[in-house]
């Protein structure tokens, strides 16, 4: 029983980590919280749904396809909404408000288009097969989730730590002015980071859509609650923190569902968030100093 709970916790934790990774990366590099991020989650799931449904793509092709298209959409949204504000050097508050307004706009357009009905992947996408290992039940989609997450996290870590491009991204996050003086192409990096984070959000949407086999426009909004908790607990802009906090949240939720009440599961993240704000606002590792008022 406990082992199964922990396994389920790690699975959902992996997706939380994947989702929060793009969110925190965007904040770390671009310096803004883009609240439209939850919309990328829904978008990714819907694109994968249509790709499998109408283009008859297998899921291993639909997943990267949906991630890439979502990444492109993220570039456009960033350019339209935050581009003008960046150029005008508008305050943080403006970017929060714009992305918030846009979130409502995008969700309501999406709802007008797709309605709030729950949609499902065509049965051929995955046969819902499951294994029994040492008494633990694992489905194929769960294996896909963990493998994809591990792959993406590893690739992102390599990109950031080992490549010149990653160095440029980190330099821009550390000190935008100095990085530009050193010849970092800020516009290009902004688009790259938008793309990566959009793709991560989209991929997380596809995976969760697969796991629960339920897709509807507002699924991203519910996910944002987890995303907020993970990036605050992990430390704003902290990539390692996001991965670990994601797993921790998944495990705690799973334990709460198993031993307290399954209905309280979704409140765990917020509780962690408030506790972090009270007792350790810099997050788990405290690398990113919380700004002093």
């Amino acid at each position: 029983m406990l082992a199964q709970q922990l396994l389920n916790g790690i699975l959902s934790g992996a997706v939380y980590a994947l989702f929060a990774l793009g969110f925190t990366l965007m904040f770390g590099v671009l310096g803004v919280i883009n609240l439209t991020y939850g919309f990328y989650f829904s978008t990714g799931a819907f694109i994968a749904l249509y790709a499998t449904h109408y283009l008859h793509m297998p899921i291993w092709a639909a997943l990267p396809f949906a991630a890439a298209v979502t990444g492109l959409i993220a570039i456009v949204i960033d350019e339209l909404l935050l581009g003008p504000l960046r150029r005008a050097k508008a305050p943080e508050l403006s970017s929060l408000m714009v992305t918030l307004g846009a979130t409502l706009l995008l969700y309501s357009l999406m709802t007008a288009w797709f309605t709030t009905d729950i949609r499902r992947f065509p049965p051929a996408v995955f046969d819902g097969g499951a294994f029994e290992i040492a008494g633990l039940r694992i489905t194929l989609s769960q294996i896909l989730i963990v493998a994809t997450t591990a792959l993406i996290v590893g690739a992102l870590a390599l990109l950031l730590q080992k490549t010149r491009l990653g160095l440029a991204v980190r330099a821009l996050a550390e000190n935008p002015d100095a990085a530009q003086l050193m010849g970092v192409n800020a516009g290009g990096i902004v688009r790259l980071v938008s793309f990566i984070s959009g793709a991560l959000g989209g991929a997380a949407g596809v995976l969760i859509g697969l796991n629960y086999n339920a897709i509807q426009p507002y699924m991203g909004e519910a996910m944002m609650l987890k995303g907020f908790a993970v990036i605050i607990v992990g430390g704003l802009g902290d990539i390692r923190g996001a991965v670990i906090a994601g797993l921790v949240l998944g495990l705690l939720e799973s334990v709460t569902a198993g031993y307290i009440a399954s209905s309280m599961k979704d409140a765990v993240g917020f509780l962690l968030l408030v506790l972090t704000l009270w007792f350790r606002p810099v997050g788990l590792f405290g690398r990113v100093a919380a700004k002093r008022a």
Binding site: P84, L96, L104, L105, S108, A229, P281, A293
Partner: protein, 283 residues
């Protein structure tokens, strides 16, 4: 007591008139935080706490209406303190994040709280709030806002909004001001929630979510935050417009979202750019 024509008018357009007042109060709740340069999205959540607190008192415990109103202000104010005290020492994104999260988590709690009706919400709330309560409160609140604007506190608030660090150097206790603004905002939103519950007689767990939070922001931004009259005007326009132009009604949320995006990028001072003076008395 009331002139006959007003009585007739109220009878016909009762629910619209009530929502004009309630939304104007909510816009003021948003204004008080924006006036110190913060973005808190908790107004809908605080409204919900006020609504539930007051309705539980009147429906389940048969408490007198004024007591319920006090509770509708105290409960969200306390919650605002718990969320705001640690958050307001940090940069503004923390407050925005924590307050959006608050709305979501409260929805989950209401849904699972059987005493408060769970998913069905609360029914049969006595219709004790009316025109006089709602608009009397609105006028009192507006006058209070104008008085506070034209004083040392109003100057400090505008200074924080203009340049937080410089305001601190002028001696303004930044966390105290921001926290006071958030607590005041929560109390006003809670009161608005109580009024709303006690005119519509029904409340449900899904009435105070993200959509409602962003809609309240659109009131304040459309009107502009140069004076407390801006947000009230914004609330009146955005509440009345979909009623007058029926086809707009279905796209209400799309319009609210679009307004926020366009106003922030193209019209930062809103449709009422007049700025209230900050001096209370001269020779």
């Amino acid at each position: 007591m009331m002139p006959h024509w007003l009585d007739n008018f109220l009878f016909t357009y009762q629910s619209l008139v009530y929502s004009l007042g309630v939304n104007a109060l909510l816009a003021l709740a948003m204004y008080v935080v924006l006036a110190v340069g913060q973005l808190a999205l908790g107004q809908a959540a605080f409204m919900g706490v006020g609504a539930y607190a007051s309705a539980l008192l009147t429906v389940k415990l048969g408490a007198p209406f004024p007591i319920a109103l006090l509770a509708s202000m105290a409960a969200p104010a306390l919650l605002a303190f718990v969320i705001g005290a640690p958050t307001l020492r940090l940069s503004g994104v923390y407050l925005a994040i924590a307050t959006i999260g608050l709305g979501e988590v409260l929805r989950i709690l209401y849904l699972n709280w059987d005493f408060a009706g769970g998913a069905l919400g609360l029914n049969g709330i006595p219709e004790k709030a009316g025109f006089v309560w709602i608009f009397g409160t609105l006028i009192v609140a507006l006058v209070a806002f104008v008085f506070v604007s034209r004083s040392r506190i109003g100057r400090a608030m505008e200074a924080i909004r203009a340049d937080e660090a410089a305001a601190g150097v002028m001696g303004v206790n930044l966390p105290a001001y921001k926290l006071a603004a958030l607590v005041a905002s929560a109390a006003i939103a809670g009161l608005a929630g109580a009024f709303n519950a006690h005119v519509s007689s029904f409340i449900g767990p899904n009435d105070y979510g993200f959509d409602q939070a962003v809609t309240i922001l659109s009131f304040a931004l459309l009107g502009g935050v140069g004076s407390p009259f801006g947000p009230v005007l914004g609330a009146l326009v955005l509440t009345a417009l979909p009623e007058v132009l029926r086809p707009l009604h279905d796209y209400r949320l799309v319009i609210d979202g679009l307004i926020i995006v366009c106003v922030v990028i193209f019209l930062p001072t809103g449709i009422l750019p007049w700025r209230i003076g900050r001096i209370g008395a001269r020779k």
